[in-house]
């Protein structure tokens, strides 16, 4: 398939890996920001192709993983109401709140539906005027334009029974928080290609300069990621700290201006809680102005609800790249995809789930895998 096969090509991937090995002289820790990239790295075993000096840290870019516990609880409370049809992207349904997940609320009789676009939820609202349709608006800058469009359309078409539970977060403030932390290990970033498709990459220029850290806008296929790493290592080895664009087939410097304009109309930037990380200033979106009428938190009276997070889960440290999933004492024991303690074990983009799925048997199989590797 075009735009896929050529980026999963063995010869290209190996050539790229050899280039990385050739230029690497020191140990470097590079963080891929996006959960989609984490999934690709672990699925394709991209880190196996890298020289031992390169450590990949798995960043906070899985929207499912960073959605705070109290927001999941709010979703569960709203979904349980008899008048509500609660719509969500599929992978939010298995994320545990304090008392179950959306699947368990559904099993008890709640009307919870998987949708593929917020506009599908809007259509449900039009078709079911007697019900309240709530869409769980989760995600980074990638999903924000479509969610903004749904609210904008609801307002334009006067659809009063539609609302959104907003949990939007932004990448640059998270990068800033990671780099400002005293225990930071990250020396270079692979920025998320899809986020930058919407936002462009101008907002990363001051970060690269201020923290003297290279940031490479990177795609999601194996060859993309290897090339992103190569461009990052090149800069690190040469002492440069610039923003470069590996994913030029999708990302332009200024991003998608109409999408940005719509987001600016519907949302305002606010402080947001990140699961396992805590509150980060200016790190997310909330509805603003006339669009606050579509805020599900206000409509269903859950805005003041607060809850503390489980202390056993180290998702926060995993999301900041301070610890690897298997360094958690609960990993694979008390915490599995069937009974997750935290969200990083839920989504296929979550670092813990990716490690559980692809690396759980690493100890038992190391010998034979090593024998077969690069044969």
């Amino acid at each position: 398939m075009k735009f896929v096969d050529e980026y999963r090509d063995q010869a290209k991937a190996e050539a790229m890996a050899q280039s990385i090995a050739r230029i690497t002289t020191k140990p470097w820790s590079i963080m891929e920001v996006c959960g989609g990239q984490t999934h690709s790295i672990v699925k394709y075993g991209i880190d196996e192709l890298l020289p031992k000096e390169i450590t990949l840290l798995h960043g906070p870019g899985c929207p499912v993983c960073v959605t705070p516990l109290e927001l999941i609880d709010k979703a569960l409370q709203i979904a349980a109401r008899p008048e509500v049809i609660f719509c969500s992207f599929g992978d939010m349904l298995r994320v545990p709140g304090s008392g179950g997940d959306l699947f368990s609320v559904k099993a008890k009789g709640a009307d919870v539906r998987i949708v593929y676009s917020p506009l599908d939820a809007l259509k449900l609202a039009r078709d079911n005027p007697g019900r309240q349709i709530v869409f769980f608006a989760v995600g980074f800058e990638t999903t924000a334009p479509a969610n903004a469009m749904a609210v904008f359309q609801a307002h334009a078409q006067k659809i009063p029974n539609f609302s959104v539970l907003v949990s939007h977060v932004l990448v640059p403030p998270a990068i800033e928080a990671i780099l400002s932390a005293p225990d930071n290990r990250t020396q270079g970033f692979l920025a998320a290609g899809h986020v930058c498709t919407v936002m462009g990459f101008e907002e990363y220029l001051p970060l690269a300069k201020r923290f003297h850290v290279p940031i490479v806008v990177t795609g999601f296929e194996p060859v993309d990621i290897l090339q992103g790493i190569l461009l990052c290592v090149e800069q690190l080895e040469q002492g440069r700290a610039e923003v470069t664009n590996q994913y030029a087939r999708s990302v332009q410097r200024e991003g998608n201006r109409p999408a940005q304009a719509l987001m600016a109309k519907v949302f305002r930037v606010v402080a947001r809680k990140w699961r396992g990380v805590g509150e980060i200033p200016n790190s997310g979106f909330a509805l603003q102005g006339e669009f606050t009428a579509y805020d599900a938190e206000a409509r269903f009276g859950v805005a003041g609800y607060h809850v503390d997070e489980d202390s056993e889960c180290i998702a926060g440290q995993v999301l900041r790249g301070v610890k690897k999933p298997q360094e958690c004492p609960a990993f694979g024991k008390r915490c599995t995809p069937d009974r997750p303690l935290g969200a990083t074990m839920v989504s296929s983009e979550g670092a813990c789930a990716a490690y559980y799925q692809y690396r759980r048997h690493q100890q038992t199989s190391q010998t034979s895998l090593a024998a077969g590797k690069r044969s």
Partner: protein
């Protein structure tokens, strides 16, 4: 009344309506309506002597030998999808389970659970599909049952089929018969049924319609056995897809199954749908695909036999069995790295972005 004042005076008792376009609770009551439904819709479609005898069960003659016996229930939603429906599934699913025992499928039962309000025309369509598929699979539906549940207590129509087949060989076809060195053969491309169902269920539209791969598999299996191929294990890829099937076999046999991603065909439109939705085709459901484990020395001949049948015309060798690491499936990816295939917790969920 004024219009009718000239009409002759008659007395009419309101008799029950005997002909309905929809299933009513009376259709499950065991009375005249139920018999009429069976006479009109079910029995003519499946017509054969044991069924027409209308006994509580069918009595069949067999020669000496071993029997294979299986059952499965079908609750697919929607009832109709590109390339098939619940009826085709209900016959192929059970026929294929028999075929995977290396048995020649012979007889099926059909149990219907109908929801009050189901259009009779829908039942007729499903029954016609079952009859057509049974004919293609060379089986007879010889006994059955019909129940009607209140509106809201079913999803239109559920079907259970049980099947009996005859085993005409002395092999033990099971994961425990898999041996190190065996070749792993896959009968065709994967993932079509899963995407076809998801596309209809969720209203997803692609440039071309993706059709289910639903098909009876006994012919190529029986051809392998007739040619004297020493088949060690057979398994059709249903829910959970190729990956889950292989993981189950690796765990039961305590052996290592090594497969190569390159050998596994995924149609371009299925591949595209998976990319959009963040799904892995190796875990998508199939209804007309199977894996075969045969001694490496017989692999080429087995492939030749499989490829002579339309349903397995694109069969490939996807890997081999070895001793260790025990009870694991490893996949050599297209970029040459290896990873372990693990069972998913539940159904695959489409990703956010």
């Amino acid at each position: 009344m004024a219009d009718n004042c000239d009409a002759p005076f008659t007395l009419n008792c309101p008799v029950p309506i005997s002909h309905q376009d929809f299933v009513t609770l009376a259709h499950g009551g065991g009375g005249r309506m139920m018999h009429a439904l069976l006479d009109r819709v079910v029995i003519p479609a499946f017509g054969n002597q044991p069924l027409e005898s209308r006994h509580d069960g069918a009595v069949m003659n067999i020669d000496k030998g071993r029997l294979a016996f299986t059952t499965d229930s079908y609750v697919v939603h929607p009832l109709f999808f590109p390339g098939g429906d619940i009826g085709t599934l209900a016959v192929t699913g059970t026929v294929n389970d028999l075929a995977m025992c290396g048995a020649r499928p012979l007889w099926l039962s059909a149990g219907f659970i109908l929801e009050e309000g189901l259009p009779i025309a829908t039942l007729e369509r499903v029954v016609a599909s079952m009859a057509r598929t049974a004919k293609a699979a060379k089986v007879n539906i010889v006994t059955g049952d019909t129940k009607v549940v209140d509106r809201g207590k079913g999803d239109g129509l559920f079907v259970n089929t049980a099947g009996i087949g005859i085993v005409e060989h002395n092999l033990v076809i099971a994961p425990t018969s898999v041996r190190p060195g065996d070749a792993i053969l896959l009968s065709g491309d994967v993932g079509r049924h899963g995407v076809a169902i998801m596309a209809v269920r969720e209203g997803l539209q692609f440039e071309t319609t993706i059709e289910t791969d639903c098909a009876p598999l006994a012919d190529p299996v029986l051809a392998l056995l007739a040619a004297g191929i020493e088949v060690h294990c057979l398994r059709d890829l249903t829910r959970g897809g190729l990956a889950t099937t292989l993981i189950e076999i690796a765990e039961s046999s305590r052996l290592h199954l090594g497969i190569s991603e390159r050998g596994i065909a995924v149609e371009e439109n299925v591949c595209g749908a998976c990319e959009i939705l963040g799904l892995d085709p190796l875990y998508l459901a199939n209804e007309g695909r199977f894996v075969t484990f045969v001694p490496a020395a017989q692999a080429d001949r087995a492939l030749q036999i499989l490829r002579a049948h339309p349903v397995s015309a694109t069969a490939t060798r996807i890997g081999a069995v070895s001793e260790s690491p025990a009870a694991l499936v490893t996949l050599q990816s297209r970029i040459g790295t290896k990873r372990i295939l693990d069972m998913h917790s539940g159904e695959q969920l489409p990703r956010i972005c």
